[in-house]
Amino acid sequence: MKAFATRHKQFIRNSHKSEDYFGFELRTLAKLEPGLKFLYEDWWKVEFKNLDAIPNEGPALIVGNSTGLVPWTAMMLIYALMSRENPRRVHVVCDMDWIEDERVHHFLRELGFVPWSSDNVKRLLARGEIVATFPEGIASTQKTFSQRYRLGDFDWTRLLSGVEEGVKIIPLATLGLDEAVPVLFNADKIAKLLNMPAFPVTPFFPFYPFPVNLFSLPVKWKMAFLAPSQYKKETNRDKVEEQAKAQARYLEGEIQAEINRMLRARTHTFAR
């Protein structure tokens, strides 16, 4: 706790201003921080390009691609924005309704995850917070290794509040997770039994006891913020929806193209 306080003084000061609307708990994040630091700096060696695209003040909507049940991308994003020069808190909006276990639900909310609804997003943006969303939604948890780095359809409704409020929309391309956690196949029947959207079977999950089954390969990660876009504040509902649809298509293509470029330029897969 003390080490966290000295390392992230500015972050604590900044996030003190943003209230804990959805049950954010700094202590939980502090407990997890050494683990995130290890993953970010030593294991995956995340290379974050254009981190300054996030403004120091005011609202922004981050739109990214993601895979898998464990939201590693979101966690790396939280850590990256926490440890940069002008730290900001990120509220990651995601589907949490399927999580029946109250403890897991609580834990995620304490880290800064927020159950997805347009209303929540709007409220956060109105207070000048940074919101991250992964518009592939539930479908992204079902991706397997053969579909690595291929984006699913973006759900345009997730961009609706961002377009409506006229905030900066910043695309985020992430390369690495799909190979770090290679999903061999999806056990649909087990997923149905356990009431989960997907049950990914990796070389480690679910074969080993708890902490080991979350093991991932030391793949070199690359994350990058792309050129942001912004709309004027709009009240006409039809126009907002049209813009959100167009924006979702465009962002999906933009992120996919950037990932293709990163893959082509990549010389080695593993971090060294």
């Binding site: 291929r150 984006l151 999906e252 293509g253 996919q256 193209a257 470029r261």
Partner: protein, 299 residues
Amino acid sequence: MVTWKSIQTSLKDPLKALEERNPSYYARYAGVEDEFGFNLETFAKWEPVFRFCYEEHFKVRVRGIENIPSDGSALLIGNHSGLLPLDGAMITIAMSNQHPAPRRVRYMITDWFFTLPGINEWMAETGQVRATLENARKLVDNDELVGIYPEGLRGVGKTFKERYRILDFHPGFVQLAIERQVPLIPVATVGGDEIFPNFVNVKTFAQMLKMPFFPVTPAFPWLPFPLMFVPLPVKWMINIHKPIKLDYPPEKAKDRKLCLKIAREIQYDIQRDLNRLLKERKSVFSAWTEDDNGRSETP
């Protein structure tokens, strides 16, 4: 169906065989002068070979062939693939056999093919045209279907790791479409990237032999001559989208930013469609189901 008998007849008198099998195509192009050197006899001679690939080897399925107009010009924009660019040939076969009003497709091809003796004439006689803006304009003015792969040569040389990942499109085709007011038709092809799995590109050999790239595949350059060019029997799917009419005045063709933006949007459309088709596909060598044929699904 390509049978031994049909090959024999088409070898004996290719023009007559074409006339019997595909009368409307023959009627459309027989005796028509072409400034780029299209030769119906050469086409008739080689068509059965590629039709064999189309029907028996790749078992190509086409969705949305009715989106291509029977008359008038249009630009077919596709994702490039395969070391030997067979994707263009497959679309040509689809257009001459599956379309209600069979037409030829004029593909814009890179200069390199015209440096090869023998190949250059064959390319021109089967309908390919050297890729320049001038030639493309002439073709559009002649109401031809023009096929363009805006990825260019880089797209053909993709390694296996990069399969079905579109490289950034060159915006020249949008400029042409706005200038001549012709519709764009995006075409997504699944299958082409796996027929010759290219593992590495040996640049030193390529430079020595003055080739655009020197691929190493399971067959090339290890096997003796004809065998190294035999493609794997991957099952193909060609999805032809609805035509896109660009509502811009011709002066806008000079607006580079606009052209680039439209080119990107079309690139993203094709990439999204490829992602969707790949998700739908069960495996590389299993055929697409019968009802895929003719069912058109365009976003």
